[in-house]
């Protein structure tokens, strides 16, 4: 049962990966300037039409998009994502060098988000319509409306420029990661606290809670033994989805703090139209996102006794 489920999910994930990479390929085809042109322009050469044609032939750009896509896919499966137009470095090497930094930032933030939002979300639900709830809701409302790039600038201004506690440009040290992480965590934790609050409130109104209370269980037992386990599945699913948000957010945050990850790498690549780098970035992000979601799904599947024992819902 479990194996079947995983295989089914893997197949659909494979389709997602193929679809997303093909779409980016298609969009590259729509782009106003092609690879050959960018190859010369990034070297400061204005190419002649003949040189362009020759380069296109060499890069295989004259072939239909579908042929090029399968060529690219074949190479990508062998770990070859092509060369950067800009500096000629293999895209794969550039990615593997910078990816760990981004992962550290993203998953560190995710852990922090969980640690912060779980207790606050539960607290807010327990104090429904009393002052802690109002306070938390007020603050989180500010958090979800906050543009994360502005938050990053404000935090830098306060902690680096005014107080001088931290550096404006962040490195990979713990101290250097505080501001980028705060920038990622505050909006996401705000959204999360609100979701957890809603999930807990919803469970609190279920009849089994009234039943448990009637049997004389105290609120703490009900919360820990009934309500929280029920909330775990939706929370994990949400976490999986927010990874996408987080990875997207790293592009902005890394740019603000000049953090050496693949987010700032892709923004730089976009400025010089370095298509292989952009494509490499997309495929890596897709793989990470899809894997994390697979894990989340498996966890939810396993965590639910009905699906685990193969009972049809």
């Amino acid at each position: 049962m479990m194996r079947q489920f995983i295989i089914k999910r893997l197949v659909s994930l494979l389709l997602v990966l193929l679809g997303v990479t093909f779409l980016t390929f298609l969009v590259t085809d729509l782009a106003p300037s092609d690879g050959a042109e960018m190859y010369y322009l990034s070297r400061g050469i204005t190419p002649s039409e003949a040189a362009l044609e020759e380069k296109r032939e060499e890069m295989g750009l004259n072939q239909p998009v579908i042929v090029r896509y399968f060529d690219w896919l074949k190479n990508a499966l062998h770990g070859d994502l092509g060369m950067s137009f800009h500096d000629g470095e293999p895209v794969m090497r550039q990615l593997t060098r910078k990816l760990p930094n981004t992962l550290k930032l993203a998953f560190g933030s995710l852990a922090l988000v969980i640690v912060i939002s779980l207790p606050l979300g539960v607290l807010s639900a327990l104090y429904h319509h009393r002052w802690p709830d109002y306070l938390i809701r007020f603050l989180t409302f500010g958090g979800i409306s906050m543009p994360n790039f502005w938050l990053g600038l404000l935090l830098t201004y306060v902690f680096a420029v005014k107080l001088g506690w931290l550096n404006v440009i962040s490195d990979n040290s713990f101290k250097g990661m505080i501001l980028p992480m705060m920038t990622l965590v505050i909006p996401l934790a705000s959204a999360y606290i609100r979701q957890i609050r809603t999930a807990v409130l919803e469970e609190m109104h279920q009849s089994y809670v009234i039943g448990a209370r009637a049997r004389g269980m105290n609120d703490k037992e009900i919360l820990l033994e009934y309500i929280l386990p029920h909330c775990i599945a939706p929370i994990i699913t949400l976490l999986g989805m927010s990874i996408g948000h987080l990875l997207g957010g790293t592009a902005i945050v890394e740019t603000i703090f000049s953090y050496q990850g693949i987010g700032s790498m892709v923004v730089d690549a976009i400025r010089v139209r370095d298509y292989p780098v952009i494509q490499g970035y997309v495929i890596w992000m897709a793989v990470i996102y899809v894997l994390v979601n697979l894990l989340a799904d498996i966890f939810c599947y396993w965590q639910n006794p009905r699906t685990r024992r193969g009972v049809k819902q």
Binding site: T24, P32, P147
Partner: protein, 272 residues
Amino acid sequence: MKKWQRSDLRLLIISGLAVLLFVLAILGEWLAPYDPLEVNYALSLKPPDNTHWFGTDKLGRDILSRVLCGAKTSFSLTLMMLAVIVVVGLVIGLVCGYVKGWTDHIIMRIADILLAFPDTIFAIAVAGILGAGVFHTVFALALVWWTKYARLTRSLVIDLSKKDYICAARLAGAGHIKILFVYILPEILPKILVNAALDTGSMMLSLAGLSFLGLASQPPSPEWGYMLYESKQFMQTAPWMMFYPGCVLLMTVMIFNLLGDCLRDKLDPKSE
């Protein structure tokens, strides 16, 4: 009874604020005390004072004027995008939910693929590949977000098609077009619009974020996200450059988020 009055009042105040924002955005060019594009190096990086309430930027342009004129850019882009997404999603959703079969199957699988992927990253990639530009960014975000509305519309249409009154309409000889536009569309439109209202804030943020990365609006035209991008390098000498555009963006997003919440509570009271 009393509770209803309070929530009505809340909705009234917040829609009033939203209308005020729209008026400011439309009248921004007339209200602006200076020309937002006028360069004057003598006034470079002036802190806020009586003549320039929000200060000036590196080129000596008045920030208040730029913020006011930037409102028009942000609002019109967000509305344009919202309109594109809602209309495209609505049409595709109506067709999928009503026709079903292969069309539905293929389109929904495409939507699955797009939904299964982080939207920001996809938008960054698409806008990046197509090149910086307002319309490319709108296109990139619309490419991801139509799916949400298509799915919502589709599921609403499928639910409605099973209702007796649709069946009765069909028996009475109503054509497909009439059923879709006279019986189904008015039923689902409020739900779709509430969702659109709820999404306005986050769309504005996404647009401004891409603009901050230099992917959307191009200098010198004023736009909040891009103004913040420009302000970054003057953080130490001219913090007002980043303070005011950000504040205005935050307040605008807050008002739209509140408006969305209020409309949802009003039209769909069950969800709270």
